[in-house]
Symmetry: C2
Subunit: 94 residues, 2 copies
DNA sequence: CAGTATCCATTTCGATACTG
DNA sequence: CAGTATCGAAATGGATACTG
């Protein structure tokens, strides 16, 4: 949980689950995460060895984030959370 | 995640996963959770309809907490988290 | 585009002491 | 036994403005 911690971490990982994404793509995927928090999280996840950050020296700059094998291992957990979460939401709606 | 949120929530649910537990048993299972946080979490989980709290009017008082069906549905998620978590810990240890 | 910097509000956690 | 009360520390999140 220390790793998954933070309200938005699962959502970020989720957005990365089917391939590399650029910073702005992630922002579009998770519009409620401020740039600051997003940067913090991404850096943290990089430090924790869950994803890789690749900056291309183009202009304007392009940065890609991609889950590494460690990150892939987290996916089942995220998936289950998302899954159970949506079932519960359905119930509450009723 | 709003539901699972909080550092200790998964640990509490985990401790409850194979049957009802009394307050003091939970404290023994999760020695690092202060009584205050534990009470808060339990109350929150009760409010969220994940577990039931049963107080027996004995002396000294006895209170049992038990996952209800909603809570049971969370278990797969917790299990997966615990699972992935321990695999990652192993890696880091190496 | 992909960030940083600042400042502030909120939430969460923890230690300690007390109680029916 | 099963809590509650109080206080304070710390992490987390958000808004806004600025930059190579």
């Amino acid at each position: 949980m220390g790793l998954l911690g933070g309200l938005w971490t699962p959502e970020l990982l989720w957005a990365l689950s089917d391939g590399p994404r650029r910073f702005s793509e992630l922002r579009r995927n998770c519009p409620y995460i401020s740039a600051k928090v997003m940067t913090n999280k991404l850096r943290e996840l990089e430090r924790r060895n869950v994803l890789t950050r690749t900056a291309m020296p183009t202009s304007p700059p392009t940065v890609e984030y991609e889950l590494n094998p460690h990150g892939q291992e987290l996916l089942p957990a995220i998936r289950t959370i998302v899954d159970v979460g949506s079932r519960l939401l359905l119930r509450e709606a009723v």
